[in-house]
Each structure stands twice: as structure tokens, then as C-alpha cells.
């Protein structure tokens, strides 16, 4: 047991240090691939072990509680020094100082209550699912980075490679995330939480240009507000004599203490909201795309942002039945709707992905707020499948960008002609994000039905509108990737194997995971929901998902749609190139490649068509201001109502 925990949490840190010291390419590849394989295997073994509680007391003779406290202060001091010297950001400095003061007060000036016999770490099925997602998807992204980064640095013409530092933070990130989801001691959790904040700051700022540093600073201060809220939640709990352990919060009847109990919960949820870049904090995540693609993939799909929703979801039994729960549902649904709308208005592919990520995280938070077993099931399903599909999409966009030097959707027209394999993989990504019978949609189906079941009208309406918007931006992307004349002489697409392998594996993963979803549900998801909510959301009837409200067929759908798709594919393969013609241009085609038609006076007139981005309604400049205002008000109202309960 301790060896597996050590492997998933501490080993990435050790590997990271090795990566920092070993500067040659060969050993870097060896360490990353080795760590990836070991980490994935260890996470699977950990799941095989099942749930556990574990209290490591010391590492090499040093007491762990003390060590973590020491590292906590060290980390905060480093950030403080950076904020004052390099960033010259009073805001970051103030927020960091507030945390230092809070921690000092907590550790040295507050009476520690009676010692509580709670394990420092515990893992139930939810934690294990998170460990799996982090260790497998995250590792694949790290492997991808091996192939991506040399090319990335080639464009920057660096005198000295910054890759060692980059991989140090990338791999350490995985360890911090695993520690975060396995921690039961809230002080430990807080430490890992801050490590992820710091890592993400360093990774966003990696290229070192002005924009990178500016966006990284924004990410830092937004996440730091969450950190401050976290510390205050801890102080609050200490004051009211609750032990600083997750398991204490999750004891039945905890929220019966009324608002005094709900306030720390709100603070922790607020920390989760900042970490998951929910509105009004969405700008840090959309700004994070200036970083190299592996960072975006890692932050946006499998790790950092998932930490926030993990915490909100983890605490869901504690605030079940309180006002906070309903408000979180509203807030999440609002984020889902508004960020989906913003995604429609974007032609920048990475921004579309970023907004779509925030929307999905909002959906997860909405599910946590709905807080029925069915909704919690939905949340977990979306966490898993979104991680895989979104990591895939990000890596695709990064690969495409290195080839065509643009991340604009309009420049991806007819990509199949230059990058056939990557295009197909990207299409798989889009389809698994958007359509049944794949996992993300199963989650969405569960979410809408559970919202309807509890009659949360505003939430349901927002989810319905958001779904429509989602279809719009995914469908058009898929369409223009295919926008080609008859594909003949499509060149083969050379790619380094460290790039190709993660892409292909994730594409297979997205499809196969959906294919095995009934077993995934029975083995992991249902036990996770049961352990927190004492009931299952769905019963399996011949491997279909059945609830009181409805039914979602898995294998019948796969069979019919699979056979249909296969036949369609065969019909398409039979196309005779001689039957293919150029587009209709309302005039005689002027050239062989159908790029123009003959107009009056024998003039050749070209043509161009673009997507509707509906910026008159969905443009960032139109929407961001009102969205930030409304969401800020929502958060303030939440806090106000809860505080009102105390006073």
C-alpha cells in the first residue's frame, strides 16, 4: 500500500528533480516514459487494491506534518518574493501575505483541539477514479510533450533549452494532483492545492514573453484568492472545533450545525470555483493557452481544473440539502450556459476548447449542486470522459498548429488534405465530445434528466440552452476539417512517435472507454456514488442505464450506430473519383482547382465562405462584462445569504 501511494505521489516529484538535473534528450525521454509507465501501472494497481485509509507518519525520519508545514511556508515565501521582485504585483503579494499570516495564526496561535484519530490520507472510489485520470491521461500528455517541445523551442531560437525546467513542473504537477485527491488532512490538501497553483503559474509563464507573464500573473492571483478562502475555511473550522480533515466535514449531520458549518464549505467550494476557472474567473484559463500545448492539455483536461470540481464534488454530501447546494447548481449551470455561448463566438480553436472545458466543469458543479445520486453519477461520468476527449482535442490542436502555424478555425479548412491522420483523430475527439453513444453525452443526458427530476427550472433551462450552443461550435469545427475536394494524393503524415502514440492511444481510449461504460460504472462509478450518497443513481438493466425518469441504451445504440456507420463508410469508400465534380459556383469554373468562376467580362472571380460566429450576440466583448458582473453578484449573494444565516 505505502509503496503504491509513494509511487503515485512522491515518485513524480523525484522524476521531476531528475528531469531538472539531466539535460540531455535521451535520458529525458527515458525518465518521462519510464515515469509515465510506472505511474499508470501504479494507479491501476491502486484501483485494484480498492479503498483504503493510510497515515504515513514520517519520510526518512522527518515527521510529515512538520515537513508539509515547512514546505507550505517555503512555497508561499517563494511566491511572495517573486511577486515583489519579478512580477511587481501588489495584488499577488497581498494575497500571498494574507495566506502566510493566516497559516501562522492557524499553526502557532490557535489552540489545537483534541487530537482526532483520522487518517492523513484516504481513498475511496472517487479518489481512485481521479488518480486513474491524472496518472493515465496526464502521463500521456507528458509523453506527448517529449515530441512537442523540441519543435516548440525551435521556433523560439533559444540559446539554452528551457526544457528541463518545463518537464520538472509538468511531471511534478502529476504528483501534486495525486497528493491532492488522496489527502484527507486538509492541511496536506491545501499544500498540494498551492503546489498546483504554483506549477501552473510557472508553466503558463514558461515562454517568458510579456503576454505569458501577464496571463500567468492573472492565473496566479485568481487562484490565490481561492487559496486565501481555503486558509480562512481552515481557521473557521479550527475555531468551531472541527478537526481539519475531510472526513470530519463528511460526517453525517455536519451541516446540521447550520450556517456556521456551511461557511467553511462555501469557502472551500469557492476555492474550487477559482481553480476550475468558473465565471467570473474564466479569463485565467483562456489566457493560459499562451503556454505550450501540453500545458493547456494538462491544465484544461485532466488535472488542475479537475482539482476544483473534485473538491466541490467531494464535499457534496456535506452541503446536501442546504441552500449552498441549490446555489451551486445555479452557478454551475450559469457557467455552462455563458461559456458555451462564448465558445460559439470564437474562431480561435484553443479558446473554443478552453471555453468548452469551463462549460463542462460548470456542468459538473451544477450536478454536484443538484446533489442526487443520479446527478453525482453524471458528474463523475463527465469528469472521466471529458478528461480523455478534451486532452485529445488539445493535443490535436497543438499538433495542427505546429504544422499550419495557426490555431484559427478558418485556417483548418480541408485539413484532411495535409494531415489526414490527425484530422481523423480530431474528428474522433469531436464526436466523442458531442454525440451518443459516447461517454460525455451519457453524462449530459444524466445531468439534464436529474435536473428535471428535482424540478430545478432555471438550471434545466440553462442546461437546455447550453446544450444547443455546444452542438453549434463542435459541429462546425468537425465540418470544416473535412472541407476538401476529392481527396486524392493525400500525402502520408510523418510524426514523431511520442506525438503519434498519445494521440492514437487517447483516440482509442475515448471510444473504448465509452464502449465499456457499463463495467466502468459497476466497478468504479457506482461504488463512488454509493459511498458518498448511500444510494445508486442508476440501475443497470441488461447493461443499459435505467433510472426512474428514463433509459439510456448503451449496446443497442453502439450496435445500430456502429453497423450504420460501417455501412456508410463502405458506401463512401466505393466512390469513384470520376463521379466527383467541383463545387457549384453559379458560373463556369475558371480553373482546374475550382478556386474561381468566370464572371462578366471574362473576369475570374474567387470566392470565400466563413463560419457564423454570431459575434453580435456571442462576442467576448459583448458578453464578458455582463457575465462577470452577474456571476460576481451570484457569488456575493451566496456569501451574503450564508453570512446572514450566521448573524
Amino acid at each position: 500500500m505505502d509503496i503504491l501511494v509513494f509511487t503515485t505521489v512522491v515518485l513524480p516529484f523525484l522524476a521531476a528533480i531528475a528531469l531538472l538535473l539531466l539535460r540531455d534528450k535521451g535520458s529525458r525521454s527515458l525518465v518521462v516514459v519510464g515515469a509515465a509507465v510506472v505511474l499508470a501501472a501504479a494507479s491501476l494497481a491502486l484501483v485494484g487494491q480498492g479503498s483504503f485509509e493510510y497515515s504515513p507518519k514520517s519520510l526518512l525520519g522527518i515527521s510529515l506534518d512538520g515537513l508539509i508545514m515547512l514546505l507550505d511556508f517555503a512555497l508561499l515565501i517563494v511566491i511572495l518574493i517573486m511577486a515583489v521582485t519579478k512580477l511587481k504585483s501588489t495584488l499577488v503579494a497581498a494575497l500571498t501575505a494574507a495566506q502566510v499570516v493566516g497559516l501562522v495564526y492557524l499553526e502557532f496561535f490557535m489552540g489545537h483541539g483534541p487530537a482526532i484519530a483520522a487518517p492523513a490520507m484516504f481513498a475511496d472510489k472517487l479518489s481512485l477514479i481521479m488518480v486513474l485520470v491524472i496518472s493515465i491521461v496526464g502521463s500521456l500528455i507528458c509523453v506527448y510533450a517529449l515530441g512537442y517541445m523540441p519543435e516548440h523551442e525551435e521556433h523560439l531560437h533559444l540559446a539554452k533549452s528551457k526544457q528541463p525546467r518545463f518537464f520538472f513542473f509538468l511531471v511534478a504537477f502529476l504528483g501534486a494532483m495525486n497528493g491532492l485527491v488522496l489527502a484527507n488532512n486538509l492541511l496536506w490538501l491545501y499544500f498540494f492545492w498551492e503546489v498546483t497553483t504554483f506549477c501552473s503559474f510557472m508553466l503558463i509563464a514558461h515562454d517568458g514573453d510579456e503576454t505569458s507573464v501577464k496571463n500567468a500573473t492573472r492565473a496566479l492571483w485568481m487562484n490565490m484568492t481561492g487559496g486565501v478562502a481555503f486558509v480562512f475555511a481552515l481557521i473557521f473550522m479550527q475555531k468551531s472545533g472541527v478537526g481539519l480533515y475531510l472526513s470530519e466535514l463528511l460526517k453525517p449531520g455536519f451541516s446540521a450545525a447550520g450556517a456556521a458549518a456551511v461557511i467553511p464549505l462555501f469557502m472551500l467550494c469557492y476555492a474550487g470555483i477559482t481553480k476550475s476557472a468558473q465565471v467570473p474567473f474564466q479569463s485565467w484559463l483562456t489566457g493560459a493557452m499562451v503556454a505550450p500545448t501540453p500545458v493547456s492539455a494538462l491544465l484544461h483536461s485532466s488535472t488542475m481544473v479537475k482539482a476544483g470540481v473534485y473538491l466541490v464534488l467531494r464535499l457534496s454530501p456535506a452541503y446536501s440539502g442546504t441552500m449552498l447546494s441549490g446555489m451551486l447548481a445555479m452557478f454551475g449551470a450559469f457557467t455552462f450556459l455563458t461559456t458555451s455561448a462564448l465558445a460559439v463566438g470564437q474562431s480561435n480553436a484553443k479558446k473554443v476548447l478552453a471555453y468548452s472545458t469551463i462549460a463542462n466543469l460548470g456542468l459538473i458543479i451544477a450536478c454536484a449542486g443538484i446533489n442526487t445520486p443520479a446527478a453525482i453519477t453524471a458528474a463523475i461520468v463527465i469528469i472521466i470522459f471529458h478528461a480523455v476527449s478534451k486532452a485529445l482535442m488539445f493535443l490535436c490542436v497543438g499538433t495542427i498548429e505546429q504544422k499550419i502555424h495557426s490555431r484559427d478555425l478558418e485556417d483548418m479548412r480541408g485539413l484532411y488534405m495535409t494531415m489526414p491522420k490527425t484530422t481523423i483523430v480530431a474528428l474522433i475527439g469531436v464526436v466523442t465530445m458531442l454525440l451518443p453513444p459516447f461517454g460525455v453525452l451519457l453524462g449530459k443526458w444524466m445531468a439534464i434528466e436529474s435536473a428535471a427530476a428535482v424540478k430545478y427550472m432555471p438550471v434545466t433551462i440553462m442546461l437546455a440552452l447550453g446544450s444547443g450552443l455546444t452542438v453549434m461550435f463542435w459541429a462546425r469545427w468537425a465540418g470544416i476539417l473535412l472541407s476538401t475536394p476529392y481527396p486524392k494524393d493525400v500525402p502520408a503524415e510523418p510524426q514523431p512517435s511520442t506525438v503519434r502514440a498519445p494521440l492514437v492511444l487517447l483516440a482509442y481510449g475515448a471510444v473504448l472507454l465509452s464502449l465499456f461504460v457499463p463495467f466502468l460504472y459497476g466497478g468504479l462509478i457506482e461504488p463512488a456514488v454509493r459511498s458518498s450518497h448511500k444510494a445508486a443513481g442508476y440501475i443497470m438493466d441488461s447493461l443499459n442505464f435505467v433510472s426512474a425518469q428514463g433509459i439510456f441504451y448503451i449496446y443497442p445504440l453502439f450496435l445500430v450506430l456502429g453497423v450504420g456507420f460501417y455501412l456508410a463508410w463502405k458506401a463512401a469508400r466505393k466512390v469513384n473519383p470520376a463521379e466527383c465534380v467541383g463545387p457549384y459556383l453559379c458560373g463556369a469554373q475558371a480553373t482546374d482547382d475550382n478556386k474561381a468562376f468566370v464572371s462578366t467580362g471574362r473576369a475570374n472571380v474567387g470566392y470565400q465562405a466563413g463560419n457564423f460566429y454570431l459575434s453580435w450576440i456571442f462576442g467576448e466583448d459583448r458578453l464578458s462584462g455582463p457575465i462577470n458582473m452577474v456571476s460576481g453578484v451570484l457569488l456575493a449573494v451566496m456569501l451574503g445569504l450564508l453570512l446572514g444565516g450566521v448573524i
Binding site: 442546461l463 462546425r476 475536394p485 425518469q549 445500430v560 450506430l561 450504420g564 463512401a572 459556383l585 457564423f612
Partner: protein
């Protein structure tokens, strides 16, 4: 087993019904416009003629997407007559709609591109409304299953009168009737080339037409749910609804997509909220 049989029969008969509806539609429109109009079976003649033509396309993706569109529409009808989950059907219907748009976008034709973009906006317009209609049905019957509507025992129209109007909006859009025939329409005088269908011809166009018939059967089926207690009540409701669609089609002209999005979302949401509030209070 009986359900499966019924659903299978429905999938076989749906194109016949859909085609007949299309024929009657033309005949009635002609009557409204003081013309004689084509024979009732004209849509079938058209489709058979198209099927017999030699194929012409721009790339294989078009073939792929058309077939997927047809399969998903058939599956939607199948699930409906199986008495299955409405929301699931909606998602299956979305597969077809998405692939249809992808097919149009895969051509490089500027007309098809614009048509596809407009089709996306129409999808964006009607999809949330359909979900809300399903949610309201679930609020009344306590389930998303079609079979539960039949065991409910009272016509849904009594409790969801405004939702029926909301569904009417979606129906008008789905039938490609004015003023919402934005992406492709049957009236040559207000069409840029052929919108989203520009680059489809011959057998592919026939398949799209057949898939569209399936879709029509599905949305009419949804309307029928609002009076599921008696055959005649249901029949009268459908006839009246469809005739109203024809009248609307003939007295309005195509509007812009901006207008459609604003109007339909505005009215659709307002009516939905009113109706749901009334249910909630009731």
C-alpha cells in the same frame, strides 16, 4: 417483443407516411394558392427518379454523412415507437443533424457553406426548445419515457398548452416552413441556390429526402403525444396543427436568421417559463 415489432413496422412505414404527408402538403399549398398542384404521390416519384440518377458528389464525406443522417433518423423513429426515452431520442436525432451539416460543410461550395451555417443557427434555435418540451412532459408524467405518456391517462395539452406552441415553433423550423426556412426552402423565389442542399444531387438527395420524412414523422409523433388518450383527438390535433403550419408557411416570407434566433428564443423561453411556473404552482 410486441414493442420491438411495432417499432420495426413503424420504421418500415414511416417513409410512406412521411412521403404522403409531403404530398398532401403540396396539394394543400396549391389549393391555398389557387393552383391544381402535383399528384399526392409526387414526392415518391421525385425520390424514385433521384434514386435512379447517376451519383455526383464532391468528395466521399458527403456519402458517409448522408448515410449516417438516414440511420440516425431511422433510429430516432424506432426509439419513439419503442416508447423509449425522449431525451435519448433527441440526442440520436442530433447525430443526424450534425452529420448532415458536416456533409454540407465538407464541400467547398460557398452556397453550401452559407447554407450549413444557417442550418446550424436553426439547430441552435430549435434544440433547446425541444429539450424544454421534453422536460415539461417529464414534469407532468414523472418520466421521460414515451410509454409513460400513454399510461398517464389525460391529454397533456390541458397542462402544457403553451409548450405545444413552443413545440409548434420547433415543428415549423424542422419542417423548413416560412418564416424559418432559413437554410433551405421549397420556394424558389426566396432561395439562394439551394442552401444547405446545394451540393447534394441524385441518390444522395433522395436519401436526405427520405431521412427528412423520418424526421417529419418523429416531430408529428411528438405533437401526437399531447393528445395521446384517443385516436380521434390525436388525429384532429395533428391535422389542425399541420394545416396551421401550411397557413403560416403561405402567409409569411422567409426572415433573417438573426430575427429567428431572437424571436424564437424570446417567445419560446417566455412561454416555457410561464407554462413551467404554472405547472410548478399547480
Amino acid at each position: 417483443m410486441g414493442k420491438l415489432l411495432l417499432a420495426t413496422i413503424a420504421v418500415i412505414l414511416a417513409p410512406v407516411i412521411g412521403g404522403l404527408v409531403a404530398g398532401l402538403d403540396r396539394k394543400c399549398t396549391a389549393w391555398l394558392q389557387s393552383r391544381v398542384g402535383p399528384p399526392i404521390l409526387q414526392p415518391f416519384y421525385d425520390v424514385f427518379k433521384l434514386l435512379g440518377k447517376s451519383p455526383m458528389m464532391m468528395n466521399p464525406w458527403q456519402i458517409l454523412t448522408v448515410w449516417v443522417y438516414l440511420v440516425s433518423s431511422m433510429l430516432t423513429v424506432f426509439l419513439f415507437f419503442l416508447g423509449s426515452d425522449l431525451l435519448l431520442m433527441f440526442f440520436v436525432l442530433t447525430i443526424g443533424a450534425v452529420f448532415f451539416v458536416m456533409g454540407a460543410l465538407s464541400t467547398q461550395s460557398p452556397y453550401a457553406q452559407v447554407g450549413a451555417q444557417r442550418e446550424l443557427v436553426t439547430m441552435l434555435t430549435y434544440e433547446p426548445l425541444i429539450i424544454l418540451v421534453f422536460v415539461s412532459i417529464a414534469m407532468v408524467t414523472g418520466s421521460f419515457k414515451v410509454s409513460e405518456v400513454f399510461t398517464y391517462g389525460k391529454p397533456l395539452l390541458y397542462q402544457l398548452p403553451l409548450m405545444f406552441v413552443v413545440l409548434g415553433y420547433a415543428l415549423t423550423i424542422k419542417l423548413r416552413k416560412s418564416p424559418f426556412d432559413i437554410s433551405a426552402c421549397h420556394h424558389a423565389h426566396q432561395e439562394i441556390v439551394r442552401g444547405v442542399l446545394t451540393e447534394y444531387s441524385g441518390p444522395q438527395l433522395a436519401l436526405i429526402e427520405i431521412a427528412h420524412w423520418y424526421d417529419v414523422v418523429f416531430v408529428l409523433g411528438l405533437c401526437a403525444l399531447f393528445w395521446a388518450t384517443s385516436f380521434w383527438g390525436c388525429a384532429i390535433l395533428l391535422v389542425v396543427t399541420y394545416f396551421a403550419e401550411l397557413v403560416i408557411d403561405n402567409v409569411t416570407a422567409r426572415m433573417t436568421y438573426k430575427w429567428m434566433l431572437k424571436t424564437v428564443w424570446g417567445w419560446g423561453l417566455a412561454l416555457s417559463v410561464l407554462n413551467l411556473l404554472w405547472l410548478y404552482a399547480g
